[in-house]
């Protein structure tokens, strides 16, 4: 039996302490700004909480009200539509673009990545305001081009008509969501083991076969990450709604995030808003778990 060196134990202890000390700032930040608000959110959801008066404990009443609230159900439905449409479209479109550009020459590939990434780095308010101009009922470019070319008989109130408003929101969301997945996919595709691809090509595999049998399994972790991130972003779609439609017309663009904001910061119903936040967090967690599970099984 070898005797442990006391010096090395002290060294390990010192390194451990140093390690924790380095982690401490981010740990404090994480506890203070993530864990504490989460606990507070769950706690407050059991209270009738508003400004300038004491909170009243009401148990599960906020949750009961939630599922009887037609506007919340509508917001949930709209959120689901946004997720169901935007997540697959973002993933498929970004994978397609990446597949086309990843093996282009350096500057060309970089130029494409810049173009698609531009809406991501541009401020969301600026992007939204530009889209608002384009969709404008009176002088927007879509109406102008549509009426001039004869596609439209008359101007369409894109953001003020419940038939089109949600579609417009999804369209804008897509343009701001594809940048990051494209960059990630280009990087993942470049990391695919080329010797396997070349070997398969020598054996007579087609391009599609190479893609599905060799590249796709290797970029699966990236796909999973993109799926989860896009799903969470779609669920949390807020700025677009706030800046473009305020949930209208006639609640047709209300999302859960916007309805949380509306209840908490317009009506000062903090307890009710927090209850919605808890429900949203549970939905996102369940969906993410399912996505992980499915990806693992593949």
């Amino acid at each position: 039996m070898t005797k442990k060196n006391p010096m090395s134990r002290a060294l390990v202890r010192r390194e451990t302490i140093a390690g924790y000390a380095f982690m401490l700032p981010s740990l404090i930040f994480f506890l203070g700004f993530v864990i504490y608000p989460m606990v507070q959110c769950v706690f407050t959801s059991f209270f009738d909480s508003t400004m300038n008066r004491d909170d009243i404990f009401i148990g599960l009443d906020n949750y009961k009200e939630l599922f009887q609230d037609p506007i919340f159900r509508g917001a949930l439905w709209n959120t689901v539509i946004i997720v169901v449409v935007s997540v697959p479209v973002v993933c498929i479109f970004s994978l397609w673009v990446s597949s086309v550009i990843y093996d282009l020459k350096g500057p060309v590939c970089s130029a494409f990545r810049c173009i698609f990434y531009l809406p991501v780095v541009t401020g969301s308010v600026a992007v939204t305001v530009v889209w608002k101009w384009m969709f404008n009922n009176y002088y927007g470019i879509f109406n102008y081009v549509g009426t001039k070319t004869g596609v439209l008989d008359q101007n369409i109130n894109w953001l003020g008509d419940e038939r089109f408003a949600l579609g417009c929101i999804i369209l804008i969301l897509l343009t701001t969501s594809v940048g990051q997945p494209i960059v990630l996919y280009v990087s993942a595709l470049n990391n695919v083991d080329q010797s396997l691809v070349e070997a398969a090509e020598v054996d007579g595999a087609t391009k599609m076969q190479c893609f599905w049998k060799i590249k796709w399994p290797q970029i699966m972790p990236t796909t999973l990450y993109i799926l989860v991130i896009t799903t969470i972003n779609s669920f949390q779609c807020f700025a677009l709604i706030q800046l473009l439609t305020s949930g209208g017309p006639n609640h047709s663009t209300d999302t859960i995030m916007y309805y949380i904001y509306y209840n908490a910061f317009k009506l000062y119903r903090y307890g009710y808003g927090n209850a919605m936040g808890v429900v949203l967090a549970i939905i996102i967690a369940v969906l993410s778990a399912v996505q992980f599970k499915m990806a693992k099984s593949e």
């Binding site: 300038n52 008066r53 009176y138 894109w158 003020g160 439609t245 209208g248 017309p249 006639n250 317009k266």
Partner: protein, 460 residues
């Protein structure tokens, strides 16, 4: 390797200095807060004096016996402009050198949140400048404000207009606001377009009034002249919603609340009739993609021929964009007696439990609103009109004189009704419903039910 280490060290230093720089700036929010009084002298006598001053501040005064108060003001004309407010407070400081006033400038997007957060944190300002819907109906109703009855002397009640006096108190007669200025929100038309459409015949240009029938005929004429969008009942949000409320209430003499301001009455026959009229009018559309501010822009750039969200500030602020003759108008009525929505702004005092601060705040209000040498300047800073007869304070200013004819049309100040925040939101949602085809009666009944439920909840 060596160069990498040097580069890493250099970058670390840059980051550390950046953080230090951020830290040094965070101590004072120069854009937001300004101590507008001359307090440096009293705080420069060494550390002891500074410590004494700090102790004194906690009790509402400084070591030199001065009282420090804070004023938070919403952007009411130039009361949101630091240079103007500094001038006003400089006058106050000359009269009351023992009171230091610190000002914070709020905006309407975040102001309520800032004040509510301050209240929650026990750091509410001493003075706040806004209107009765906040001072009386919101913070006053919650017992957060000081009763200003001692400022409302018989002389003050005699001088201040009755409608204003009524708005500044709650139903129990407790005053939570001392008013300074007021305005009446109007609508406006593009006179050039109306003239070209021969529609000026349907209105009284001199008085700035028109009948409901005249309004219908004028809109028809303008629409027939080729102006596809004459006006828009904007309902994309609550911005400028007083315009749509005033339009609908005036057309057939409807009301928004009962006279006691305890119940919403927007589902009256008159209002339903007005909404149905608007819904069926060619040239008027219910537009859920714009709010009041957007409508003002569309009117100012000539896209719309009339604006329902208008007042003198809009004309001043958009003077560079407007290339036509703007004709401000009262809202059309059957009776010929329009009731305009107004704005009344003044001061309220948060009850922070410090008698010295409350007393100093009352002196500030009295000086700004009652001092003969000061009041005109205080009112002019708001770009609006006085709440009592001070003569024509805008002598020689044609624009202000033109708009002053609408002040007598000021109607009931119903914004003090309970559940106001919920009602405002329900209002534009109701207009959206009507715009998307919901039956008018069904939509207004739903609105009134929602708003009255909120009013009842607020009363409890």
């Amino acid at each position: 390797m060596k160069y990498r280490k040097i580069l890493a060290m250099a970058l670390s230093c840059v980051m550390a200095f950046s953080l230090a720089a951020c830290g040094s700036n965070s101590g004072g929010n120069a854009d937001q807060k300004e101590d507008t009084n001359q307090t440096d002298d009293s705080k420069s006598d060494g550390d002891d004096a500074a410590d004494d001053a700090a102790d004194g501040e906690e009790e509402g005064g400084s070591s030199s016996g001065a009282t420090d108060i804070t004023l938070w003001t919403y952007p009411i004309g130039n009361w949101g402009d630091s240079a103007t407010v500094e001038g006003l407070i400089s006058n106050f400081s000359k009269a009351y050198p023992d009171i230091n006033v610190t000002v914070e400038y709020l905006d309407y997007t975040n102001g309520d949140d800032q004040i509510n957060t301050a209240i929650e944190g026990g750091k509410a300002p001493d003075l706040v400048m806004e209107g009765p819907e906040r001072l009386v109906a919101n913070w006053g109703a919650k017992g957060l404000m000081v009763d200003l009855s001692d400022l409302w002397t018989d002389e003050a009640k005699e001088a201040i207009y009755d409608s204003v006096e009524s708005a500044c108190q709650n139903n129990d007669g407790v005053f939570y606001e001392y008013p300074l200025c007021m305005t009446a929100h109007t609508m406006a038309i593009n006179r050039d377009v109306f003239e070209a459409a021969d529609a000026l015949q349907y209105l009284d240009e001199e008085k700035g009034t028109w009948t409901t029938e005249g309004f219908q005929k004028a809109v028809e004429a303008v629409a027939a002249s080729g102006q596809a969008q004459v006006g828009a009942v904007f309902c994309g949000g609550q911005g400028g919603d007083q315009g749509t409320r005033a339009l609908i209430n005036n057309l057939y003499g409807g009301t928004f609340t009962n006279p006691e301001h305890t119940e919403y009455t927007a589902n009256s026959e008159e209002n339903v009739k007005a909404l149905e009229l608007l819904k069926g009018m060619e040239g008027i559309n219910f537009d859920a993609s714009i709010q009041g501010g957007d409508e003002v822009n569309l009117f100012s750039n000539g896209t719309l021929a009339m604006a329902f969200c208008w007042n003198v500030s809009q004309e001043k602020n958009n003077a560079e964009t407007i290339t036509f003759d703007v004709l401000p108008m009262a809202f059309p009525t059957e009776s010929g007696d329009p009731k305009l929505c107004g704005g009344i702004w003044g001061f309220g005092i948060f009850d922070n439990g410090d008698a010295a601060k409350i007393d100093a705040a009352k002196k500030f209000i009295d000086f700004m609103a009652n001092d003969e040498a000061q009041v005109v300047e205080s009112v002019k800073a708001s770009s609006y009109w006085p709440v009592k007869d001070l003569g024509n304070i805008y002598e020689g200013d044609d624009l202000m004189t033109e708009y002053s004819k609408f002040i007598p049309f000021m109607g009931d100040y119903y914004q003090v009704v309970g559940g106001w925040a919920e009602a405002r939101t329900a209002w534009w949602n109701m207009l959206q419903q009507i715009g998307t085809g919901t039956d008018v009666k069904t939509a207004v009944d739903e609105f009134v039910a929602t708003a009255n439920a909120a009013a009842a909840a607020a009363a409890n």
